[in-house]
């Protein structure tokens, strides 16, 4: 019985603390935070890199000049945004946080990020369209660590066998003609990801923007054209039906079978492409009437969450500058297979590897999803957009009706 009583006392104590924390939390005054002066916390969405990786060492080494230890935690990328909100609510935000670029505007809306100008970090060397995703009302809330975007990988063997010259693919008509030839030659046309998450929207945007689509009017003619294009591919058998459940990784696996002529995928697959076992090439995604379509920018931003103890910012600034100096950017972006956000480092990258040249121009033409004042309106629009894509491709709605419903829902939500 004594045992029981002791447990009871312990649990009662726990209850008390739990309740205390409940009240503390609702008044928003929890004080713990990053209390240790010599340790700076750092979160990133790169669980694939452990402490012994180049990235892990680079992060750790960025504390040395300031004489502090950087404690790095790698989190699953889809969880990072929510965890950041939760930590901020509890007053436990990390000192530095690397987040996917469309998340920045959400975190700014939550009021938990510090402006780069307040820290005294210079952002002028960064390409405008890349930092756009982290710029809200003219102020930058983060520094891109690198950028990626989408293009069309093609399989040279498949195109040769079908008698298609990749250089001839310059607009949607020539792309459709190429797909028809490939199908006639008994191979598969194109694979992409149309999954019902942000990834699906990310992949749809080059076509949407390439037809002149406007995110604030989803059911404009550009949007309907783009969705009809995708739907036509699935209906005509140019694209497999499983694009609806494809992530960008599984879509890549399909392309890697060597059966597909084209695969829409990102800069980060370059390393895998070299291992695929067949000759490949890359072209920019064509706009409807020719020319490169604007693709969305991908990649993470270095951000600095608000701290109660403002004295920490001086060291934080040093860490941020260290992570984004030219030498480190080059190393990081090479490891991640990203394009650097500054022209100086881009030049170094293309000098080292000329295969990156088309990607540098693709990134230069790319657009931030939350740019142009869209900010936190984007997540709502994006959700409706991927819903419409799913509805149209699965055949439950026509493209026009699906996008009209999406526009209606997005507008309702904003209103």
């Amino acid at each position: 019985m004594r045992q029981t009583r002791r447990t009871a006392i312990a649990t009662v104590l726990l209850t008390a603390t739990a309740l205390a924390s409940a009240t503390a939390c609702s008044s928003g005054s929890t004080a713990q935070g990053s209390s240790d002066q010599g340790t700076f916390t750092f979160w990133d969405p790169y669980p694939q890199f452990d402490a012994s990786s180049d990235w892990g060492k680079r992060v750790a080494s960025c504390g040395t000049p300031a004489g502090v230890t950087v404690k790095r935690t790698a989190l699953d990328t889809t969880d990072l945004g929510n965890k950041a909100l939760l930590a901020a609510q509890q007053g436990d935000s990390p000192d530095v946080m690397l987040v996917d670029n469309p998340v920045v505007s959400t975190l700014v809306e939550a009021g938990i990020l510090t402006k780069m100008s307040d820290l005294g970090v210079d952002t002028s060397s960064v390409q405008q369209n890349i930092i756009g995703a982290g710029t809200i009302d003219g102020a930058a809330y983060g520094l891109p660590i690198g950028a990626n975007t989408l293009a069309l990988y093609y399989n040279k063997s498949v195109l040769d066998a079908a008698g298609v010259d990749p250089a001839s693919v310059t607009n949607w008509d020539s792309l459709n003609a190429a797909l028809a030839k490939v199908k006639a030659a008994g191979k598969k046309g194109i694979t992409f990801s149309a999954i019902g998450t942000e990834e699906g929207s990310f992949q749809f945007l080059p076509w949407f923007w390439g037809a002149g689509g406007d995110l604030t009017h989803l059911n404009g003619s550009g949007g309907v054209d783009a969705l009809s294009l995708w739907k036509g591919w699935v209906a005509d058998g140019y694209a497999p039906n499983d694009v609806l459940s494809n992530t960008q990784t599984t879509s890549w696996q399909e392309f890697a079978t060597g059966q597909y002529a084209f695969g829409e995928n990102g800069t980060w697959q370059l390393a895998n492409a070299a291992k695929a076992g067949f000759p490949y090439g890359v072209i920019t995604i064509p706009a409807k009437d020719g020319g490169p379509a604007p693709a969305p920018t991908g990649g993470e931003f270095v951000t600095v969450p608000v701290q109660k103890d403002t004295a920490r910012y001086a060291v934080t600034k040093q860490i941020v500058s260290c992570l984004t100096n030219a030498a480190n950017l080059l190393g990081t972006d090479t490891a991640l297979s990203y394009i650097a956000p500054t022209q100086a480092v881009q030049a170094q990258q293309t000098r080292a590897d000329s295969a990156l040249t088309p990607w540098v121009s693709a990134v230069a033409a790319a657009r931030g999803r939350t740019s142009n004042g869209l900010g936190v309106k984007y997540p709502v629009i994006s959700q409706q957009m991927w819903t419409a894509v799913q509805g149209a491709l699965s055949g439950s709605q026509g493209p026009q009706a699906a996008l009209a419903a999406a526009q209606n829902a997005a507008a309702n939500h904003q209103g």
């Binding site: 726990l14 694939q48 935690t73 699953d76 696996q253 890697a256 079978t257 980060w268 291992k275 991908g298």
Partner: protein
């Protein structure tokens, strides 16, 4: 029907039953086989159509990565799993005994609370714990995770124990009382031994839940020194890329020690039959 007739079990029949049993198990485990198959399939063949039924050109890169990276995570998972079992049993068995046999007032309400407790979505529980753990300073500790994981199993444990213990004839406990045993002794030396099957069942599931928990681990232990295998897997799930060879290989490697534990535990269930619980 199910019981063997008293006396000689017929060898031929038993063999036939075994064959059927193996067949059913094989059918059930086909997805597991498929997972092993994928773990050995090179990247470029993963979406091959039609798929290879056997890994004809196996790649062992996944397993190499796992054996290099994952063993510490595996040990942590075992530690957390076993500790969770202990916490769950200590909390649920005595309470269930009281609910089943001593019937305190308000037990109906308690039963409903247990039911509702299990309905709170894991992610909401995790958010709640985040605040509590931060204030108690037990964030990023393995035993903090044990406390969190036990919440998955304690309500289940109480309900299962209660269901089983209420099936124990009252005469059994009454006899103990007549012999002068207090409630605790009755529980410890009469009720608990007789409830061996329930103990094994509850242990199994509390182990399995703790073993496979991801939400709590991710929210409460992602910065810890000791992390479970469900977080270890995330080394192969990058922000843009998933290494399916290694993910599947981790699952295969991780399930082996746990499977051995399960087989051993199942022995106990079989042995429990002879305990002759319900004879009066």
């Amino acid at each position: 029907m199910t019981r063997p007739r008293a006396g000689r079990p017929r060898a031929g029949r038993s063999l036939r039953t075994t064959v059927i049993g193996v067949g059913l198990t094989a059918l059930m485990l086909f997805p597991v086989y498929w997972m092993i198959n994928v773990s050995l399939t090179p990247q470029q063949d993963m979406r091959k159509s039609p798929p290879d039924l056997f890994p004809l050109h196996p790649t062992f890169t996944g397993y190499q990565a796992v054996l290099r990276d994952q063993l510490p995570y595996l040990a942590t998972s075992l530690l957390i799993g076993v500790s969770t079992v202990v916490v769950t049993l200590v909390l649920s068995a005595p309470a269930a005994y009281a609910l089943a046999k001593l019937r305190p007032r308000g037990s109906g309400f308690l039963g409903l609370s247990l039911l509702i407790a299990q309905m709170v979505p894991g992610i909401v529980m995790a958010m709640g714990f985040y605040g509590i753990f931060l204030n108690l300073g037990i964030m990023h500790t393995w035993w903090g995770l044990v406390i969190a994981d036990s919440t998955l199993a304690v309500p289940f444990g109480v309900m299962i124990f209660t269901a089983f213990m209420s099936g124990i004839p009252d005469e059994l406990t009454a006899a103990a009382t007549v012999d002068g045993a207090g409630a605790w002794r009755t529980f410890w030396s009469v009720v608990l031994p007789v409830s061996r099957n329930a103990v094994v069942t509850v242990s199994l599931f509390s182990f399995l839940w703790a073993w496979s928990d991801f939400v709590f681990a991710n929210t409460l232990d992602s910065g810890g020194d000791l992390q479970p295998i469900t977080l270890g897997i995330y080394r192969y799930i990058g922000n843009n890329n998933q290494e399916w060879n290694s993910i599947m290989a981790t699952a295969v490697v991780a399930s082996i020690p746990a499977a051995v534990l399960l087989v051993l535990a199942q022995r106990y269930v079989a042995a429990g039959v002879t305990a002759g619980a319900v004879k009066d």
